[in-house]
């Protein structure tokens, strides 16, 4: 090949049509998705810190978990939410679910669905509570700093939190009563606000998870104000690996019991819904808000029923590392190709 043709070819390669790059990326993501195969992850210090903290907290500790992301970020953040929830339930900690994002109630519903179907020994109102969404962004954190009941008088279903049946709320008056604060977030308000206005003010350990692009912004708070963070899918995969290494038996047990539990929960919800319907039929009045919550939960569980229950269920992030790994390799290869062509062309022009 003469020099002119070579240079021409290299120039074309150097200025390759971006659609070819897109095609390679698409193949790099599609093939590992169709043929999944996760590899063992090696946890980093930050993930290990969170794992060790939850592992060593005394059983029954109070953990506030704020799920501050919308469904658009769920593919990246849901695996870490699930992994953290599973760990908290395994250690039998008391969980207080809430969100600062108005598009997140469906996310909390998923969290509740996970607890109900995988850890039936965790009872609502006794071991966990869904406080739901409250508007006000970081103002909510400021409010619950001194008095949680100022913001939350009822739970998600509309039941009064001061009712004695809420054993989980016994002794909880403000954020300072929590033993651990976790925020899984994608933007504002999120983990940064929980650190600045929440954890740092009451001096309680704070940690969480974030999308990969937002994680570097939170490093300034490590390790003083935030003792650990799960960054994107990689962080979630590391946490899942830690769970598998530490609690494989328990995870396998869930696989056996989950399908039965889903059916049980659906039946329970159907009974609750028909009770409210009968009330409305007989008396003309009934708790519509409560009914709508049950219906939404039932719909979610019916969708959950359609999902396969196998090992991949608790390896969601590990499975997603396959496409991420291949895509990163493709990007690295393209960068190397680009630099090689760049240097060769530069040398050819120097030698001219």
């Amino acid at each position: 090949m003469n020099k002119y043709k070579l240079k021409n070819w290299l120039t074309k390669l150097n200025m390759i049509d971006r659609r070819i790059i897109f095609l390679f990326i698409a193949i790099a993501v599609i093939i590992p998705t169709i043929f999944p195969g996760g590899c063992k992850e090696y946890p980093t210090e930050m993930s290990a810190n969170i794992y060790n903290k939850i592992e060593t907290l005394p059983s029954g500790s109070r953990v506030l978990m704020s799920l501050d992301y919308d469904p658009a970020s769920a593919p990246e953040l849901q695996p870490m939410t699930n992994a953290l929830l599973r760990h908290l339930c395994m250690k039998k900690h008391k969980i207080y679910l809430m969100t600062l994002w108005q598009t997140a109630p469906s996310i909390i519903r998923r969290a509740e669905g996970l607890i109900k179907t995988e850890f039936p020994e965790m009872k609502e109102e006794i071991d966990y509570v869904n406080l739901g969404f409250k508007g006000g962004l970081q103002g909510v954190i400021n409010a619950i700093l001194t008095d949680i009941y100022q913001m939350y008088s009822t739970d998600n279903k509309g039941d009064n939190l001061k009712d004695p049946k809420f054993e989980v709320m016994k002794g909880v008056n403000n954020l300072g009563d929590m033993d651990l604060i976790i925020s899984v977030s994608t933007g504002t308000p999120g983990l940064k606000e929980w650190i600045q206005f929440g954890g740092d003010m009451v001096k309680k350990p704070t940690c969480g998870g974030s999308t990969a692009v937002a994680t570097p912004l939170l490093f300034p708070y490590y390790p003083q104000q935030m003792f650990g963070i799960l960054g994107g899918i990689k962080g979630a995969a590391e946490y899942e690996q830690l769970l598998i290494d530490g609690h494989k038996d328990r995870l396998d047990k869930i696989l056996k019991t989950k399908p039965i539990q889903i059916d049980k929960e659906i039946a329970k919800l159907e009974k609750e819904i028909s009770t409210i319907d009968n009330e409305i039929k007989n008396t003309g009045i009934g708790n519509i808000k409560r009914k709508s919550v049950f219906e939404a939960n039932k719909k979610h569980l019916e969708d959950l029923k359609a999902e396969p229950v196998d090992e991949d269920m608790y390896k969601q992030a590990i499975m997603r590392m396959g496409p991420q790994t291949v895509a990163h390799l493709v990007i690295i290869i393209f960068i190397i190709i680009g630099n090689i062509t760049f240097f060769i062309i530069r040398r050819m022009e120097k030698n001219k």
């Binding site: 992850e41 469904p71 469906s106 760049f342």
Partner: protein, 222 residues
Amino acid sequence: MKKQIPLLITFISGLVMIIAIFIPHYPFTKMEKWFTVWFNIIAVFAFILGGGNLIRMHGNKIYKRAEGWGYSLVAIIGFVGMLTIGLLQIGVDGYFQRVDQGWTDKIYWNIIWPLASTMFALLAFFVASASYRAFRAKNVEATILLATAIIILLARTFLGAVLTDWLPDELAFLKIPELANWIMTSPNLAGQRAIMIGIALGIISTSLKIILGIERSYLGSD
């Protein structure tokens, strides 16, 4: 007076908000909350203006059959459709509508959410094309950038740990995950903190100029 009154309002509200940070006494403790609520109320009224502008612009395009009027038709249909469904509470039982009820919910989950996820997913492709174009070792700084980018890209996969696992303990700091951690928590963090300090100072300066009325261009024409 057209400019003096807004300047006075800006000055007073700015000053009050700054003072309120230092005074833990009623009513200053409530001011941030009140001002935020008042701003939200004004923003909600302005919503109508935005919606009206949207309909007018796209309506004009459809009426004149201007280039791309088909896209305007889709925009109008989506806007009017969602508004109608929400206002009439179509598919909702009971007397109030929650975010997760009725046809609003169906449209959100089956149209808006997949479309938003699709747009977000475009980032994966654009990151690849931007990296291919941007990471060229043209000079020393670009070469350092290139090297750190490759280390971080590898560290975000299991390969990063596997490729350098064989290194002895004395050279453990050269393992890719350790290198990546060092890059993110040392030089990257230092640069970020420096940028954040600069940004904070810029915000102080801009805010001061606006509060003191030195910067008035946001008020528009006389």
